[in-house]
């Protein structure tokens, strides 16, 4: 696993999956840092992004708009995105803003990685 702290954004790679950790307050500044890290990971060949919200207590609308941007970028790169470790309030907020229509939510990082693995296996089976 390669771990990097790109300007205070923690992340690490597990195979072709990058796990990026959001900070306690997802706003414009921290959102853009996450976006930058995600882009970097995708440029390095990552096929999936897990954004871990275990530390996140507060999210504002600018932060959410940046997350949607990340989803855009990931889609264009053929990568999957999963959000993990969201608390109830953040889930509710994402639901209100319709974010949950575009991204899978996982209870924790392990569940997210498991889900990604099963997607990969399904893709392989279909392609056969």
């Amino acid at each position: 696993m390669g771990e990097s702290t790109g300007a205070s954004v923690r992340s690490h790679c597990i195979g072709t999956t990058a796990v990026v950790y959001a900070s306690d307050y997802l706003n414009k500044l921290t959102g853009e840092k996450i976006e930058r890290e995600c882009r970097k990971q995708l440029d390095c060949g990552c096929r999936a992004l897990v954004i871990d919200f275990s530390d996140t207590e507060l999210v504002n609308s600018i932060g959410i708009s940046i997350l949607l941007g990340i989803i855009d970028i990931a889609e264009r790169n053929g990568a999957r995105v999963i959000f993990s470790d969201l608390n109830t309030q953040t889930i509710e907020l994402f639901q209100v803003l319709g974010l949950t229509r575009h991204v899978i939510l996982a209870r924790d990082e392990q569940e997210a990685l498991t889900a990604l693995t099963s997607f990969t296996m399904q893709s392989s089976t279909v392609g056969h």
Partner: protein
């Protein structure tokens, strides 16, 4: 003051007892409290509308302060016309001051109006005041024969400053109604008073005709920040009626209810005119219990009694020379019958054959008494109270037209008798009037059910329903109308003179406003509002006549955007409703109007003053300070036992509101002002900032929450989510109208039990 206190109050300068003093309770309280509320020299300008009356108010204040026996030493001085010069007036002031000061310190009210010289007063001075009073009188005796009038005036006026602080604090009240008579003197008495009192360390009050007092303040070059203002308008209808009743009882003059009301109306509530008339009745042993007896006495007094003397003295002060006075009467009378029109100064100069400075003094005096409006270049004449206009007509006919006296008297009585029923009809109608002007002036962007302006819809839904049902129905109406913010109202006849001929003035109002409280040309609108007289539903013909009349008036007056609103007691017929719909006019019945009035009167703008459950916070913009606000609101919300989900919603909303304020306002101080108000069932949060009002604010405020969170939205579109998010998370969201910047009010209701 309690009733028993009122009864025990010694009457010293006041002409009537406190119980008999009508209509000025708040003003009296203000005056009496003025010296105690300020430790610095602070003037109170009591600005008098003509006929409002102020002398008795000051005298009542004097008595109250005298009887309180506190450190405040009241001094009342009435400027009288008979003093003739500023120097004489000032010397009288000095005498009055010393006399009243000693009367207070000795607790001897009888000294207040005793006829004593300064030398006599020195002998009466209490031991603790003897030295400075003796010095004062000695200094006066040295100065009085000097040639320097201004120095003497200032010396006399500054006498109160010599009182040693431990001996008391004089509060000088100047009754300056006659100050206008001193406009022509070498020393400007009014301005000197203001300058001198302002320089002292003592509070004071200067009462006078509002135009005169303002003129004096400007000439004195006084900083208005050191002055408070108390405006005295004419007595209200009920107060005037009560005044007539009390004054008649005191003068032992019998009146009927009808003539009492007539006098209150005819004299426009003027204590001066009412008192003069009743005095005349007493002197002549007259019993004005009928309109005939009233008007006979009225004309008699106007011809040669107290009313006549009042106006004659006024004219003599304004124009000393009989020939000039005669021409003045002619010009004023002819202007009055021609209607108020502007005439150039030059025309007046030629007509009066006067030099410019002399004419300016004449016009200044007339302007002070609000008998004309003079702006320095042209004159608008024809104004003044009805009594003055009657006097003018009599004088014109006698002095200019040389009509026989008997004819003038007979015609004057006839005119007064013919007018009396119309005067009273106007009064009774006014009582029954809807008070359009007062309600329109309260329009301030309130949101009300649209149905209150649509008679057809309202009648279809609620005709015959109980009031409670109607109110419930209106509360649940989904269609609303945001009222404009009205900034000026006037009668229609103020804009279109010929409307005056057949319209009751107060039933047709023009209101200038801005829609949404946004001050732009596109938002400016003029509402033309009329109350129709119709016993049954107003029919199409009547409605059309009014619509046409108001539309033409609007065109004539150059109003760009207008809204017509007609009100008829019983509403409008079907045909009239169709027409109103075609012409896009609002229409209401009296019931709708009253429901609207009730809603508007309940609406109070948010108060800034703090209450126990009000919290205020000011944060700098930026640095993620919205997180601080979120933390604080969480603590506040916990006090009301909001559920955790609700608290999170509130936190998110406040974060968004703070970001909104930071991003949109161009704030000069870079601060966000937050107010949190806890009520039993809700939390109200107001987030404000100074700066620019966003141009799309109105749209943002009223648009419904739209579908959000689309992947294919542009980032700019996504960046506008903040307000939409707030509307989703909070129960009520509204942009308050403020002069600059933004103020967003959000409300979250407490939902007890299950979510």
């Amino acid at each position: 003051m309690s009733e028993s206190d009122s009864k025990q109050l010694r009457r010293i300068l006041a002409h009537v007892t406190r119980d008999e003093f009508v209509g000025r309770t708040p003003e009296l309280a203000r005056l009496v409290s003025h010296p105690a509320t300020t430790s610095q020299a602070r003037g109170l300008l009591v600005l008098l509308a003509p006929l409002a009356g102020v002398s008795e108010l000051l005298r009542q204040a004097y008595d109250e302060l005298f009887n309180r026996r506190s450190e405040i030493v009241p001094i009342y001085f009435q400027v009288e016309r008979s003093y003739a010069t500023a120097v004489s007036a000032s010397i009288e002031f000095l005498n009055t001051f010393v006399r009243q000061y000693i009367a207070f310190q000795r607790n001897a009210p009888s000294l207040c109006e005793a006829s004593l010289t300064l030398s006599d007063l020195v002998k009466l001075a209490p031991a603790t005041d003897y030295d400075w009073i003796a010095d004062l009188v000695a200094a006066y005796n040295q100065l009085r024969f000097s040639d320097d009038s201004k120095a003497l005036v200032r010396f006399c006026l500054s006498a109160p400053q010599r009182v040693p602080p431990q001996n008391g604090r004089p509060f000088v009240m100047i009754d300056g109604v006659e100050l206008a008579a001193y406009l022509n003197t070498d020393v400007q008495l009014g301005s000197e008073m203001i300058k001198t009192f302002n320089r002292s360390h003592l509070p004071y009050a200067l009462a006078g005709l509002r135009r005169q007092v303002f003129e004096a303040v400007h000439r004195a070059g006084t900083d208005f920040e050191t002055l408070d203002v108390l405006r005295l308008d004419r007595l209200k209808e009920e107060e005037a009626t009560r005044l007539v009743e009390i004054a008649a009882r005191r003068q032992k003059v019998a009146l009927s209810e009808e003539t009492g009301d007539l006098l209150a109306e005819q004299f426009e509530g003027s204590p001066l005119f009412i008192t003069a008339f009743l005095q005349a009745a007493r002197e002549r042993n007259s019993t004005p219990t009928t309109y005939l007896a009233c008007q006979q006495l009225y004309v008699d007094d106007l011809m040669g009694g107290h009313l006549n003397r009042h106006f004659s003295s006024l004219l003599e002060d304004i124009a000393a020379e009989p020939e000039v006075r005669r021409t003045l009467i002619r010009i004023l009378y002819e202007s009055a019958i021609a209607g108020k029109r502007r005439t150039p100064f030059e025309t007046w100069r030629k007509l009066l054959n006067a030099e410019t400075p002399a004419l300016q003094r004449v016009l200044a005096q007339l302007h002070m008494h609000e008998l004309i409006n003079w702006d320095g270049t042209s004159v608008e004449a024809g104004g003044g109270p009805a009594v003055w206009l009657d006097y003018l007509k009599i004088r014109f006919r006698l002095d200019v037209a040389n009509d026989p006296r008997a004819t003038v008297v007979a015609d004057a009585i006839a005119d007064a008798l013919k007018r009396a029923p119309h005067t009273m009809t106007h009064r009774y109608k006014r009582s029954a009037n809807l008070n359009l002007r007062e309600l329109l002036s309260r329009f301030d962007c309130q949101v009300v059910p649209e149905m209150l302006f649509d008679y057809a819809d309202f009648a279809a839904s609620y005709r015959g329903a109980e009031v409670e049902e109607i109110v419930r129905g209106l509360d649940s109406e989904s269609k609303h109308l945001r009222l404009p913010q009205v900034f000026h109202t006037a009668t229609c006849s103020s804009f279109i003179a010929n409307l005056d001929q057949f319209r009751d003035k107060e039933r047709c109002i023009v209101a200038h406003a801005f829609e949404g409280g946004t001050y732009t040309s596109t938002n400016q609108v003029v509402w033309l509002v009329a109350e129709l007289e119709s016993k049954l539903e107003a029919d199409r013909r009547l409605t059309e006549a009014w619509l046409d009349s108001l539309t033409l008036s609007a065109i004539h007056s150059g109003f760009n955007r207008t809204r017509i609103w007609l009100i008829a007691r019983e509403g409008f017929s079907l045909e009239a409703c169709e027409l109103l719909k075609q012409r896009k006019a609002f229409a209401s019945s009296r019931q709708q109007f009253e429901l609207l009035a009730a809603r508007i009167k309940e609406w109070e703008p948010p108060k800034v003053a703090s209450k126990p459950d009000d919290f205020e916070l000011v944060l700098p913009m930026g640095d993620d300070n919205e997180v601080l606000a979120a933390g604080i609101v969480e603590q506040i919300a916990r006090r009301l036992d909001f559920r955790p989900e609700a608290i999170n919603q509130i936190k998110t909303a406040i974060v968004e509101a703070c970001i909104n304020a930071s991003e949109h306002s161009f704030s000069p101080d870079r601060k966000i002002y937050q107010r949190f108000r806890l009520e039993s069932d809700k939390l109200v949060i107001t987030i404000s900032s100074r700066g620019v009002v966003p141009s799309n604010l109105q749209a943002q405020s009223t648009e419904q929450g739209a579908e959000i969170g689309q992947v294919n939205e542009t980032s700019e579109e996504r960046r506008g989510w903040g307000l939409k998010l707030i509307k989703t998370l909070m129960d009520e969201v509204e942009f308050e109208r403020v002069d600059e910047g933004t103020s967003l009010r959000m409300t979250k209701y407490l939902r007890r039990g299950s979510s």
